[in-house]
Structure formats: C-alpha cells, structure tokens
C-alpha cells in the first residue's frame, strides 16, 4: 500500500533506460514501442518548471485557506487542545485532498501533490507540538517528529520529507547532547558516528527492501546529507567555530572574539583532509559521482580552512594561485582523459546535466560581470577624487 503505484514507478524506470538505449542506437524504435507496451505507466508527465510553479501556488492556496479558517475561528490559538485538533483536521484534510488528486489526475511528484504532502505533514507536526506540554524540551520534540516523518516517507517516498526527517534527527542529536556538560566535546564524534552508521544502514536497506526504486530519490538525498555531515563534522573549521559559538560567553569579553582552539586539534586537522581523501579514493574505485563531487568540495573546504587559520600573503595572490592550480589540474585531466583510461573518460554522457551546467555557467558569469562593473564607480568615488561623489549614479 503506497501513495503511488510502485509497479508503475518501476515501469517508468525501465522505460527511461530503454529510451536511453534507443537514443544510443542499441534498441530499434519498434523494440522501444514494444517495451512501452509491456511496461505501462499511468503517471502524468509535466515539465519541471510548471511543477515548480504548481508547487509554489499550491502552497499559496493552502496558506490562504488556512488563514481564512483561522479568521472564522479566531480565539482558537489560545486553547491548546482545540488548536491542536484543528491543525490535525486540516492536516488530514490536506492529505485526503492529495490522495484524491493523485487518483484523479494521475499526479506523480508533479508539484501540487508534493506541496500538499509536505504541508499536510507540517500541519500534523504542528498539531503534535501544540498538544505536547510546554516543558517538553526541543530535542524530544525533534525526536518525536522523526518516526512520524519516516512514516510519511515510507508511504510517499517524498524527498523533502526525508530531508526534514534528517534535519529533525540531527536537531535532536545536537540539542540533546548540549543538555550534558560533556556534550559539546562529544558533538563532532557523535555526529560523525551516527552519520556513518546511518549511511551503512541505508546501504543495506537499499538492497534488502523490495521497493527500493520507489525510494531512489529519497535514498539519493540521504546519501548527500549523511556523507556531507560526516565530512563537515570532522572539519577543523566547523568544529572550532561551532565550539566557540556554543561555548558559554566569557565574562568581560564582548563582541566577536576569535573562537579558541579546540581540544584534539591535531585529530580534527587530520580528519579535515582524511574524509575528502577517503571520498576521492572510494569515489574513483567505485565510480561513484556523489563521492567524487563531495571529495572535490571537501578538498576545497580543507584548503580554505588552512587559509583561514594560517593566512599567508594577500587574498589576491591566494585566489590567483588556487585558480591556477585548479586550471592546471583540470586541463591536465581533460587532456589525459581524451582517450578513456581506467574506466574514466572526458566524453560527456547522457546522464550529464548539460543544460543545467550551461545555465549555471551563464548565471555565474552574469554575477561576476555585474560585480566587476558595479565595483568600479564605487572605487572611483571612494578614491576621493570626486568631492561628494556617489550621489545620482548616472553612468
């Protein structure tokens, strides 16, 4: 029993793979037609932009409906039990609406259903939190939300809800540990341990459960978050600054003071480089895109961490040198992989988000151009050569 037909989720996957083979000339068009015949998919196919828009406007509509009901039931907020019941009823109503729409319009993660599911879960969580006595600590509220959210994930396979479930789980860990005097010291180790352990559990789960295709997107986001937190929790900058932020303020010291060095600093310096290195090694061995990308980001974070605590030379030189190294490495690898080597190639494949990349490139170039052009008049006026300049920038 699932919100969407799991068989059709699988069929959709088979179709997509067959379409890819057909594009590569490995399947004949009539074979693809036969595959489509044999693997029916009833889901509605939209495009991503109308889905994004439908998600936003569903949120507006539900928000408007909720506010309207609150207007009719003014004074409800003061009575915790009644307000909780109201939220629970609204949540259930929203979820029923989602169920009806999925049946009627064959939605499959088409925007409106995602929005309704997320908002329905949010209303139910709100109901739970209103009804709970006021002295229930934050960490317990987070922890209680996790099974509820996971239930939703089980039924819908929704990515956003799984993300929120992970946030709630980490929130519970974080706030719960800080209840203890030793919690601040243990925090990075606990975060690393639970992230790593959860990642292993999920890996087993992916193979063990019968409907792993239904959860493919949710598993994907979980991998990103868990491995990302694992690496971040070992990063020296994160540990030291977070530790400084959480420390009790020292009497007589005000304002931004530098975070003090942490205990076991050498260990965290080691971990700062260990995780990106491990990800790179595993990523190359297992040809895992997620691990390779995380290792690149992790190495960038490690280098920035070193620069942050041991700044040598001005920023301009540092940026130039880092840029040069990146260009050199990329150029060398692109030339090296012109022929496929060790199972890697520079030739783009079908999975690549070509359109996304081109647009990201254009957007960042626009940003850079905007910033560069924007800087010049300021510098000009800031240079003091124009008395009282800066008013009315008509250039």
């Amino acid at each position: 029993m699932k919100a969407y037909n799991p068989q059709h989720v699988r069929n959709r996957l088979v179709r997509q793979q067959a379409e890819r083979w057909q594009r590569e000339g490995l399947l004949k068009p009539e074979q693809l037609a036969a595959v489509r015949q044999a693997y029916p998919v009833s889901f509605r196919e939209n495009n991503v932009f109308s889905e994004i828009g439908a998600f936003i406007f569903t949120g507006i509509a539900v928000g408007g409906a909720y506010a309207l009901m609150m207007l009719f039931l003014s004074g409800l907020v003061d009575q915790a039990d009644a307000f909780g019941l109201f939220n629970a009823v609204v949540g259930a109503g929203v979820l029923l609406l989602a169920r009806w729409l999925i049946g009627r319009y064959h939605f499959y993660r088409s925007g409106p259903d995602n929005a309704l599911i997320v908002m329905g879960a949010a209303f139910l969580l709100a109901a739970l939190n209103v009804v709970l006595p006021g002295d229930v600590p934050f960490w317990l509220r987070c922890l209680l939300a996790v099974p509820l959210l996971l239930g939703f994930v089980w039924y819908y396979g929704d990515v956003i809800l799984l993300f929120i479930a992970l946030l709630a789980f980490y929130g519970a860990m974080f706030a719960g540990l800080l209840e203890f005097p030793w919690g601040r010291l243990a925090l990075p180790f606990v975060l690393m341990a639970v992230s790593g352990a959860l990642w292993f559990v999920l890996r087993r789960l992916k193979r063990a459960i019968p409907n792993s295709d239904y959860y493919a997107d949710a598993f994907g986001i979980a991998d990103w978050v868990l491995l990302g937190v694992l690496a971040a929790a070992g990063n020296y900058f994160v540990v030291r600054e977070l530790n400084g932020l959480l420390a009790d303020p020292v009497p007589g010291v005000y304002g931004d003071t530098e975070a003090p060095p942490v205990r076991w600093g050498a260990l965290f310096w080691g971990l700062t480089f260990f995780f990106p290195g491990l990800y790179a090694w595993l990523g190359i061995q297992q040809k895992n895109r997620l691990l390779i990308i995380l290792s690149i980001l992790g190495i960038a974070a490690a280098v920035s961490t070193v620069r942050y605590y041991y700044p040598v030379g001005p920023l301009s030189i540092y940026l130039t040198l880092i840029g040069l190294v990146m260009i050199a490495v990329a150029v060398w690898l692109i030339r090296y992989l012109r022929q496929p080597r060790r199972g890697f190639t520079d030739v783009p494949d079908e999975e690549s988000p070509r359109q996304f990349f081109l647009n990201a490139e254009t957007l960042s170039l626009i940003s850079t151009t905007g910033a560069t052009l924007d800087r010049q008049p300021d510098l000009r006026y800031g240079g003091g050569e124009f008395g009282g300049g800066g008013a009315g920038k008509n250039y």
């Binding site: 083979w21 949120g59 130039t320 254009t362 010049q376």
Partner: protein
Amino acid sequence: MSPKEILDQLHERGLLPTGQHALIDRVERERPFSLHWELRSVLYVGILFMSSGLGLLIYENYDALGHVTILAGIGLLCVAAFAYAWSVRPPWTPALTQSQSPFGDYALVLGCLLFLSLEGYAQYEYNLFGDRYGLVTFLPAILFLALAYRFDHRGVLGMGLTALMAWVGVTVRPLDLYLKTNFFDERVIYSALMLSGVLIGAAMLLQRRGIKPHFTFSYLLVIGNLMLVALLAGMFNVPDLRLLFAVGLALACMLFDRYARREQSFLFGLMAAIYGYIGLSYLLFHYLRPDEYVSTFYLLLSGGVLVAYLLTYKKQKIDPDAPPTGPISR
C-alpha cells in the same frame, strides 16, 4: 533497478533477442565513467578564482616598477587568452557550433574577465574615458556581444547583456539574488524598457533569420526578467501611468506565455505566471483594498487557478521514431 537488472528482465520477457542482450550488456559493462562536467566545473571555477584574484591584485599598491609589471603581465595574459581562443575559433556559421579545442571557450571567458578588470582599472587610475561613464560599460558590452556571436558562446553573451544592463543603470548578480538599481528614477525604468524592447525584438528577428537561434533563450531569460521587473517597478512607482504599465505587463506576460507554448520552453511560462500574479495581486489590493476575509479567499482561489493553469503546460512526447543519436560511449 540497475541497468543490468532491466536488461535481464527485458530479455526474460522476450523483448530482447539473446545477441542484442549480450551486446548491450557488454556496452553497459564497458561504458566508461564520464567526468566531463566535473572537470569543466573545476576548470571554470579556477578561471573565476584566478581572474578575480588578478582583478584584486591590480588595486593593491606595490612600488611603481612592480605595479607596472603586474599590469603588463595581466595585459599579456589577456591578449594570450584571446589569441588562443582565436587560434582555435570555430568556423563562422549562424547555426550552433563549437570551438575546435576543449579549452577555447574557457580561454575566451578568461580573456573577457581580464579585459573587464583592466578596463575598469584604466578608468579608475588614468580616467581613460573621462566623464563619459557610459562608455565604461557600453564598450565591453559591444565587444562581448560581438565575441559571443563570433565564437558562439552563451556565457559571453550573458556577460554582454549584463554590461548593457549596467549601461542603463541596472546591476544584477543573480547568484547573490542581488539587484541594484533605482527604479524610483523614471528614466531608469524607461531606459530599461527601451533596452529590453530593442534587444528582445532583435533576438526574435535574429531567430527568424536563423542567426544563432539558440541565443534566444539567454536573451529572454536575462532581458525578459529585466523587462518584467521594470514593468512591475513602473506599476509600483509611477502612479500617473500605473494602468498603462499594467496593460504593458499583461501584454508581456501573454507574449511570454505564447512563446513558452510554441517553443515548449516552459521556464518562460513560469516567469509569465509569477510576474503576472504579482502584478494582478498588487492592482487588486491597491484599488479594491479588500478586507482580510476577501484577501485570504483571494489567495486560496488565485493559487488554485494558477495551479490549474500551470498544469496545462504539457511535456512534449519524445518521438519514438526520432533518429537515434548514435552510441556515445565508443
């Protein structure tokens, strides 16, 4: 399901003959892992870092000799980048094409970024353009647009359009969600509208003529947003002409919607929906001043209507008879 499992299942169900099953199995097993976009991202971020590092370096004061050396070095690097890009330039064609070298496009970007830094510094230090500030942005705009067409580079086209927007007084940094301008100044609104009208008209004309038709997307994305923001700004800030701007906005949204449906490019449909919705809601709240009951009911109703409207954008069916693109992994 992994590709292998799908393959075996298709075979079991009699949809694939054994020979073909073995062939696809081999292709899948030997398919190399593509690092194409990861490597280009690293290369590209490296270029951004290096050019901004060098851009900062210019403004740091060293003794006179060192300073001249730095300037000369950056100038040489800029010339070298352009020269390399030119040496591997694609043949001129109005259709989509690409550089003869994987690095040509990136050298061009580096050259353009360094040119921008040097040009800004020339104005800052030597007052090259005097009081004609317009030239500081107009000159690179024209240069970048020309280079974009010659080299078929959408990123450089975006740079040129951004410089043109700066020329009429609008600074955008989309990645920082940053927009700086003075839309209370009516002149800025009118020049932004005139610029966007001219550019979108030009883009449509060029598309019809078949000259780099794939550039239209960038034009509409960058300049289309400028136009819609300027129309909204006119509606908010110019009370005398509010209804005229409202009509203009409605017209622009209708045109974007038509374009989105014709070209199956639904990003523009989403843009039309969001800007149109903001404009409509503003007019409603401004003129009718509804009470809170009507306001919340409006949110409920309008949200529902827009969802229904957006879902009328249907994904184009992939034509199963389309010619295959050929195996990629060879």
